[in-house]
C-alpha cells in the first residue's frame, strides 16, 4: 500500500507459460519479451500498473455480467445436476 521506486520497478522473476508467453505476478501472463524487440518496444511498466490493469479487467468483466443479467448460472452446477439425476 505504499509506493517505492525500487520495489515498483522490480518485477517478479518470470516463469515460462508457453512457447510465446511467460507469467510474472499471480494471474498475469506476459508476452515473451523477445517478441517485442523490433517493431514495438515495451513501455516502462511499474508493478502497480500491471496489477491495476489485471484487477480492473476482472472488475470490468464482472460488471458486464451484471449489466446483462442479474446472476450467472455456472456450467459446473448443471453438470453436477445431470450426474445426480442419473
Amino acid at each position: 500500500m505504499s509506493y517505492r521506486y525500487s520495489a515498483e520497478n522490480t518485477p517478479p522473476t518470470p516463469e515460462r507459460a508457453s512457447e510465446v508467453a511467460i507469467t510474472t505476478h499471480e494471474h498475469v501472463y506476459e508476452v515473451d519479451p523477445r517478441l517485442m524487440e523490433l517493431h514495438v518496444l515495451q513501455q516502462t511498466f511499474p508493478n502497480w500498473d500491471t496489477l491495476r490493469i489485471m484487477h480492473a479487467r476482472h472488475d470490468h468483466l464482472a460488471w458486464m455480467h451484471t449489466h446483462f443479467a442479474e446472476k450467472t448460472v455456472t456450467g459446473s452446477e448443471l453438470i453436477a445436476e445431470i450426474e445426480d439425476s442419473r
Partner: protein
C-alpha cells in the same frame, strides 16, 4: 478483368465558394458551436475503424461538420445542402466497418451524437423512444432501473449508437434470442435527402410491431449506409432484463467436431438460446498468442464452441441442461466456469487490439483489425472457411502487412439456418502503401465472391459498400440492384446523400445496363 469501381463517377468536391455559401446559410439554422470547420474537426470525422491507406487520409476529409440537436435542425441542414447541391454524410458512432460514415466527396458531415436524449419510456407497452445519438450501453444503464433491457449487442456495444445501428441494419451477438436491430427498432423519424421528414414504421403511433398495411418500408430505410437519409429519433422494443445468464465454452480436438456440435446446439430449439459461436483452429492458435484463457490450454484444444442463454433462472437451467446433454453426446470438453464466464463477458466489447499482430516470424507489430463477414448457411460454413483462409494465406505469402487472426461462425437465428461467418485479418497500416492496398482490395473481392459462390450474402453484419466487395453487390442482388438505383434516384434527385457509396452514382448515368452486365459477369 472486371474493375467495377471504374464505373463510379468522381464527383467534384464542393468548391471553396460553395462551402462558404453553405456555412453562411447554416448560420441561419444552427448556433455557432454546432458548425465545425477547423482542421481537427474535419480530420477526426473522416474515417471509421476499418484499415485504410493512411497516406490518403486527406481525400476523405469533409469540408465541415454540424452537430444538430433536433430532427428539425437535421432537416434544415439537409434542405440547404440539397438546394446548394452539397454532399451530406450522416455520422453516428463512426464504428462501422464498411465506410458508411466516411466522406468520399467532401461536403457536410451530419454528426448526430448530441441527439442522445431519452424522449419517452413507456413501461406499459415496453418501448423507449430515443434520439439516435444514444449508445446502447448508456441506454441500458437507465433501463436497468426499471428491470428492462434493449438487447441490441454488437461488438461495438459500448460505443456504437442507435442511429448507426439503423443505418447499417446491425447484427446482434444475442440476436438468436432477441432478434437483430431490424427486429428491435419499431419505428423512427427519418430525414430524406430533400429535407422532408418521414416517419418510418407501422401504424400512426409508431409502437406497432406487426402491421400489414401498405408497403413495408421499414427495411428499406435500414442498412442503406446513409445513402437514403438520416434517422433522428427511434422507438425501440424492450425486454425484461434477464434474471440469469449461462455461457458455457467447450473444447474439441478439431474443427469438424466443434462444427457438428455447434449445429446441434443451434438446432436444439431451446427457447433461451441466445447464440452459439464456433471458433476455428486458426482462431484458437491465434488466441494462444496473448489470451490468458487459452495460453495454458493443452495442445489438443484446437477448436471451440460457446453458447449463451438468457432468461429467467428456472428456464435457463432447464435449457442449459439440455445443451450439456448434447455436449456429452458430442464428446465436448467443458472448459470450466472461470473461462466460460470471463470469456463471454469480454465478447460484448471484443474489438481486437493492435498488438495481436505478428510477423510470420513472430515479432509483435501494431495492426489494425479488419473483420470480413458474410451470411452463410450452416452447410456451407466449412467450405467458405477453407476458401477464406487460403485467400489470406496468399496475402501472407507476399507480405507481413497481413495476418490471419482466425475465424468465427455465429448463429444469426434461433433455428441454426445461417451463420455470420467472419475472418479477422490484421493489417499493418503503417506499412500499407498503394500496392498493398490493391492486394487487400482484390482479397476483399475474392472473399465476397467465395461467399456468393456458396449461396451466401456478402455481409450479415457490416454492409457491403467498401471498395472491393461493393463490385459484387449487383451480382448478389440481381434485378434488386436496379430497383435500388431507381429508389435512390427517386428519393435523392440530386445525389447529395452520402454520394459514392454502393455504386449508387450509377443511378444518375442514364442507361447503365452494359456496366451492370459487366459487373454481374457471366450468369
Amino acid at each position: 478483368m472486371r474493375r467495377g469501381w471504374l464505373f463510379v463517377t468522381t464527383l467534384e468536391r464542393p468548391s471553396t465558394d460553395l462551402v462558404d455559401r453553405v456555412v453562411e446559410r447554416l448560420r441561419g439554422v444552427l448556433r455557432p458551436d454546432q458548425i465545425l470547420t477547423s482542421k481537427t474537426d474535419r480530420y477526426n470525422r473522416a474515417r471509421v475503424p476499418a484499415p485504410f491507406p493512411v497516406h490518403r487520409w486527406r481525400e476523405r476529409v469533409p469540408d465541415l461538420a454540424v452537430l444538430p440537436e433536433t430532427t428539425e435542425e437535421v432537416a434544415a441542414v439537409v434542405s440547404i445542402a440539397n438546394e446548394l447541391r452539397c454532399p451530406v454524410v450522416p455520422r453516428d458512432g463512426g464504428t462501422g466497418l464498411t465506410d458508411g460514415a466516411v466522406p468520399l466527396h467532401g461536403g457536410i458531415v451530419v454528426d448526430v451524437k448530441r441527439m442522445n436524449r431519452i424522449h419517452e419510456l413507456d413501461l406499459e407497452n415496453r418501448t423507449v423512444t430515443v434520439g439516435t445519438g444514444i449508445n446502447m450501453l448508456k441506454l441500458n444503464e437507465q433501463l436497468a432501473k426499471h428491470g428492462l433491457i434493449y438487447p441490441d449487442d454488437p461488438a461495438s456495444y459500448p460505443c456504437s449508437l442507435v442511429g448507426g445501428r439503423i443505418g447499417t441494419s446491425g447484427w446482434s451477438l444475442i440476436g438468436s434470442r432477441y432478434g437483430h436491430t431490424r427486429d428491435l427498432v419499431l419505428s423512427f423519424d427519418f430525414v430524406l435527402p430533400t429535407g422532408e421528414i418521414l416517419h418510418v414504421g407501422d401504424g400512426a403511433g409508431g409502437k406497432i410491431s406487426k402491421s400489414s398495411s401498405g408497403y413495408q418500408l421499414k427495411h428499406l430505410f435500414m442498412g442503406h449506409q446513409g445513402t437514403l437519409g438520416i434517422a433522428t429519433k427511434a422507438t425501440l422494443k424492450l425486454y425484461p432484463k434477464p434474471e440469469a445468464e449461462l455461457s458455457p465454452f467447450w473444447a474439441f480436438d478439431d474443427y469438424d467436431a466443434a462444427y457438428r456440435f455447434t449445429g446441434a446446439l443451434a438446432r436444439a430449439g431451446v427457447a433461451t438460446f441466445a447464440g452459439a459461436v464456433l471458433f476455428d483452429e486458426y482462431k484458437v492458435a491465434y488466441l494462444r498468442r496473448d489470451d490468458e484463457a487459452y495460453i495454458p490450454q493443452p495442445a489438443d484444444v484446437r477448436a471451440l464452441t460457446c453458447a449463451v442463454l438468457y432468461g429467467w433462472e428456472d428456464e435457463v437451467r432447464v435449457g442449459g441442461k439440455r445443451l450439456f446433454r448434447i455436449a456429452k453426446e458430442h464428446g465436448a470438453r467443458y472448459l470450466g466456469d472461470e473461462i466460460s464466464e470471463g470469456d463471454w463477458a469480454a465478447r460484448h466489447d471484443r474489438y481486437a487490439t493492435p498488438l495481436h499482430g505478428r510477423t510470420k516470424a513472430g515479432q509483435v507489430v501494431p495492426m489494425s483489425w479488419h473483420c470480413e463477414d458474410a451470411a452463410v448457411n450452416y452447410t456451407d460454413v466449412p467450405a467458405v472457411t477453407k476458401a477464406w483462409h487460403e485467400i489470406v494465406a496468399d496475402l501472407r505469402r507476399k507480405t507481413d502487412v497481413f495476418d490471419d487472426w482466425g475465424m468465427f461462425a455465429y448463429t444469426s437465428a434461433d433455428t441454426g439456418v445461417d451463420y455470420l461467418t467472419e475472418i479477422d485479418v490484421g493489417i499493418w497500416e503503417q506499412r500499407l502503401d498503394d500496392a498493398a492496398w490493391a492486394m487487400w482490395v482484390k482479397a476483399k473481392r475474392d472473399i465476397a465472391a467465395a461467399a456468393l459462390a456458396h449461396g451466401g450474402s456478402i455481409s450479415a453484419c457490416h454492409g457491403s459498400c467498401r471498395e472491393g466487395e461493393v463490385d459484387l453487390v449487383p451480382r448478389e442482388l440481381g434485378r434488386g440492384f436496379d430497383v435500388m438505383l431507381g429508389v435512390k434516384r427517386m428519393l435523392d434527385p440530386n445525389n447529395i446523400m452520402n454520394p459514392g457509396k454502393y455504386l449508387l452514382d450509377l443511378a444518375y448515368q442514364g442507361d447503365v445496363s452494359a456496366q451492370l452486365a459487366e459487373l454481374r459477369g457471366p450468369s
